[in-house]
């Protein structure tokens, strides 16, 4: 610590150059935090998946519906504790840009399946008693300023009503939330019985089933038993764990993790060139000064440490600013993007990775100039001066 003042003053010897270098580090780490949040938004569902939950979809495609009659047959299969269904509604609120997911389902089975969601019991009961009732996630309610009792018009893009209208109206009976910062609640649930009765086509079908495996039962065996049950039927099934389902859903958008890694790789490679060049220049300019330090009794290792610390300091200032401001931006944007990118969030693991990257970038940028300073011959350097 006693060298900190010396390191700090040396780092700011050329203020413009150091500022520009810090700016490039800042941009790199800002990008890192934003891209990490985007990556997490696309892949986070896999982390949140419950190993004991299975998802049953139509064998050919998730788009193809399954008969509602499968519900009881799935529930009767050995190892299944409980089952519920969901369907994709695909509507918007007031304007097409206000899109968010809506799902028709059954009130009690849904919240029994997702105990990580919190909804007051009286609100759940109110929803179960109102056929046109709906519950909305807190993220969504905050975004649009909705409150209990509001009448909510949703324009359907797929499901026209039997009377030819695309305007569906719901009463907000409840607002649910989650304490898990990784989980999004930017979606809406409404009653399946109302949906099924009112829609113009597709009666008696659902989008997919989600079930919980009984304690001690083997999820793989249960999945096999379900698919076997519906083999050679008009709607064969494909059952997978919730994590596998989330993964296959994410893959529809492309390999986000790979894209993010490639972009960040290019950014950090450029960053190393920029900050490495800064440190090399800095050491080249003050060879006589480094020789003086050695003359005064600073050991080769001390000189190595001083130069390396300068590189680390520049990387840490830029990196901490980038991560910090990135975190603030993500926090600010999370509610705005909740409907499009649920789970847009900077996880602690990304922050830790960011700090590790700062250390690696600082060491790599500074190690060669620092080694040069360490190996410096006092006599040669002073005679050059």
């Amino acid at each position: 610590m006693k060298y900190f003042y010396l390191v700090w003053k040396n780092a700011w010897r050329k203020k413009i150059r150091t500022t520009l270098t810090i700016l490039s580090v800042f941009i790199a780490f800002l990008l890192f935090s934003l891209l990490s949040a985007i990556n997490y938004a696309f892949t986070g569902g896999v982390d949140l998946a419950d190993a004991e939950r299975l998802v049953v979809i139509e064998k050919i495609s998730l788009i193809n519906p399954l008969p509602i009659s499968y519900m009881d047959r799935i529930a009767a299969i050995e190892g299944v504790q409980e089952v519920m269904h969901l369907s994709w509604f695909g509507g918007y609120y007031q304007e097409p840009r206000n899109q968010f997911p809506q799902f028709p389902t059954d009130p009690y089975p849904y919240f029994a399946m997702y105990p990580e969601l919190d909804i007051p019991a009286e609100q759940l009961e109110a929803w179960s008693k109102n056929r046109t009732g709906a519950v909305v996630g807190k993220d969504l309610a905050d975004q649009y300023g909705w409150k209990l009792g509001d009448r909510l018009p949703i324009i359907a893009t797929i499901w026209t009503k039997a009377d030819g209208s695309t305007n569906w109206e719901f009463d907000i009976e409840g607002i649910f939330s989650t304490s898990d910062p990784r989980g999004s609640t930017a979606y809406m649930l409404f009653r399946y019985d109302y949906f099924d009765e009112a829609r113009a086509f597709g009666q008696g079908t659902v989008g997919w089933y989600t079930l919980r495996v009984r304690n001690g039962a083997d999820p793989i065996q249960v999945a096999k038993a379900i698919d076997l049950q519906f083999a050679n039927s008009a709607a064969e099934t494909k059952t997978s764990t919730e994590a596998a389902f989330a993964q296959s859903f994410t893959k529809q958008f492309g390999n986000i993790a790979l894209i993010v890694t490639l972009v960040l790789g290019a950014v950090f490679f450029t960053l190393l060139l920029v900050s490495g060049n800064t440190m090399s220049q800095s050491v080249r300019e003050r060879i006589p000064e480094l020789a003086v330090l050695k003359t005064l009794g600073f050991t080769d290792r001390s000189v190595l440490g001083i130069v390396l610390s300068e590189s680390m300091l520049i990387t840490f200032i830029g990196g901490a600013l980038g991560l910090g401001i990135g975190w603030l931006i993500i926090k600010g944007l999370a509610s705005q993007l909740a409907a499009f990118l649920p789970g847009f969030y900077l996880p602690a693991s990304a922050l830790i990775t960011g700090v590790v990257l700062m250390i690696i970038a600082g060491v790599l940028a500074g190690i060669f100039p620092a080694a040069k300073a360490m190996r410096l011959s006092i006599v040669d350097a002073l005679s050059r001066a």
């Binding site: 006693k2 003053k9 700011w12 003086v292 009794g297 600073f298 006599v379």
Partner: protein, 229 residues
């Protein structure tokens, strides 16, 4: 009998320049008493600075031995030499070699970073050193805000702050006007007479050499002694 501070025995130093070998010092023997003030003169390339570097542990002889106090410098490792230099020897250069990013006070404190002193004690000792060289009022000034003579005084304060017994000066007045040079030389003389510092000064300036107790003439790697009048 005067106690010896530094001794060079049969010291030779040869440098390799491309394919050629250049012998800068040849079989040199020298004994330097404690509290002496010696000027070393001689033409360029005669080995003056090399001699200073050997005495300061910045360089090692090709053959022979260099002993300063109890330390045999020629057999010490680089890190041992670094530690030895930090407490036993102070260096004063022709171009002052202050760190431009540090104030006079912080420049003087630099050698004390290698000690166990806390920041308050480092500051106190640096203030005393600046007081000795008469620059207390310039402690917060940066090198660019000081005259050449003042910069050299700061460099001298830096050299004495850790209280070494030996001061090695390489052309300390070479970049100064006559008046500033005389001030610096008087300061060195005071350090020698009142603080018992042993001073070895390389110079081209015969007037500067007159401030020393004796002058050694270096030529073609050998020494010849002349006692000051």
């Amino acid at each position: 009998m005067t106690e010896t501070l530094a001794r060079l025995e049969n010291v030779s130093r040869t440098y390799t320049r491309g394919k050629d070998k250049v012998e800068v010092l040849h079989n040199l023997n020298l004994s330097i008493p404690k509290s002496d003030f010696i000027a070393i003169m001689g033409p360029s390339g005669s080995g003056k600075t090399t001699l200073l570097n050997l005495l300061g542990g910045l360089d090692k002889p090709t053959s022979g031995s260099v002993t300063v106090g109890d330390a045999q410098l020629s057999s010490m490792s680089n890190s041992q030499l670094s530690r030895w230099r930090s407490t036993n020897v102070g260096f004063i250069f022709q171009f002052y070699n202050l760190l431009p990013v540090l104030s006079a006070q912080k420049n003087v404190e630099l050698p004390l970073l290698l000690t166990r002193f806390g920041s308050a004690e480092r500051a106190r000792r640096a203030s005393i050193a600046l007081d000795i060289v008469g620059l207390s009022d310039r402690a917060k000034h940066y090198p660019r805000e000081l005259s050449g003579g003042q910069e050299q005084r700061v460099a001298i304060a830096r050299a004495i702050v850790s209280d070494p017994s030996l001061l090695l000066c390489d052309e300390p007045t070479g970049d100064l006007d006559r008046e500033s040079a005389d001030d610096i030389l008087k300061l060195l003389q005071t350090l020698n007479r009142e603080h018992n510092k042993t001073i070895i000064m390389v110079t081209h300036d015969a007037q500067a050499a007159e401030y020393a107790n004796r002058t050694l003439h270096c030529d073609k790697g050998t020494l010849e002694t002349r006692v000051a009048a």
